[in-house]
Symmetry: C2
């Protein structure tokens, strides 16, 4: 599949490399074509890897993954272009972490709002699925780094889009029974989980952790 990956930080290259390794044709997007990190990534990732600006990557992709910094995501997606996102599954992995007030970061918005919701509202023709934003990028693409039946959450209003994302996650190594659909409004909850994630990271001293959901048989 042709996939556009927006963002050159930690998450973008991790996701893009995984997608290339699975045989997809991946274009990494950044603010301007020729971004140093994107060029280096494309050279290293080899066949099936290319780079360009946000619009290049979004127009390339049949599916688009938002791996930009959450506080910059709406601007990045605006640069990607509404037409280049229309009708496409848009996986939103970003969290609106605000580091401007020091550590620990806060969320730039939350509680009665979320990045996932803002993106869906700003790009109503995109089929936004919030996913993978509750773990570090190494666990996203290699879930076996963490032992046990830990979970990945997906949410969004479009069931067909969530189904496509679940299939992609399965190809990353996520067993279907550990892909937890939170319904239409899960973005708020998963983004607001970040402070607990940061607490746990501080205590565990490793990013190789995740949570599982255990429930009584009903």
């Amino acid at each position: 599949m042709r996939i556009g990956v927006l963002g050159t930080g930690m998450v973008g290259p991790a996701i893009a490399t995984k997608l290339v390794s699975l045989g997809h044709d991946v274009r990494m997007g950044s603010r301007e074509a020729g971004n140093e990190k994107a060029v280096a990534w494309a050279a290293e990732a080899g066949e099936g890897a290319s780079e360009g600006n946000f619009a290049d990557a979004a127009s390339h992709g049949e599916l688009v993954v938002n791996c930009t910094a959450g506080v910059a995501s709406l601007e990045a997606l605006g640069a990607a272009g509404e037409d280049n996102l229309a009708g496409k599954v848009l996986i939103d992995i970003a969290n609106p972490l605000d580091f401007s007030h020091g550590m620990p970061p806060t969320l730039a918005f939350c509680n009665d709002d979320s990045l996932g919701e803002r993106i869906q509202a700003a790009f109503p023709a995109a089929r936004v699925v919030k996913a993978l934003n509750t773990m570090n990028c190494q666990v996203m693409v290699e879930p076996t780094r963490v032992p046990g039946d830990h979970a990945v959450f997906i949410s969004g209003e479009d069931d067909g889009a969530k189904h496509e994302v679940a299939e992609l996650l399965a190809s990353f190594g996520w067993p279907s029974e550990r892909i937890v659909d939170l319904g239409g409004s899960g973005a708020r909850g998963t983004e607001m989980y970040l402070p607990l994630w940061l607490n746990l990271y501080g205590q565990l001293q490793t990013g190789d952790f995740n949570i599982s959901v255990l429930a009584a048989k009903s």
Copy 2:
């Protein structure tokens, strides 16, 4: 032990009944002595159960448990009285859920603030431990309702107080390896987990669930 339990909603009676069953001398506190629910609880719980106003319950307790509605907790603790809390372990189970804007509830404050922090700041001589606020009250007092190695989080600035709370949780049936100390600042994270809890509750259609934390061996 003499314990004061503040609050007559769902959580207060569940905690108070468990404590009585463990042989503690428990006084339930509400705004005014003679509260109908508190009187009914004390009659049903039998020996070791009594009721009074917030100050009665707090002065009775060698340890105090805040089970009031989070948005009313600071007022309730003010009525309990700073002197009646000074030097005592104060377990804060409340979440500042705001139902005034409809469902799902939001948090009255979060992100750069939390109820646990507000309580510790308002009552600096109390030894505040945030605990148990990430699950429903039935699971709090009967963890075996949920299968598997699910976790209870404790946090606060006083290690001795956390140790005492961990012992109390052990008496509730929580194995020590599942009592996760989040350090000094976990209140924010655990309170902000509530929206995800609500998402999961909506999907699972049962309150008998919880999360576990899985980490790679370091």
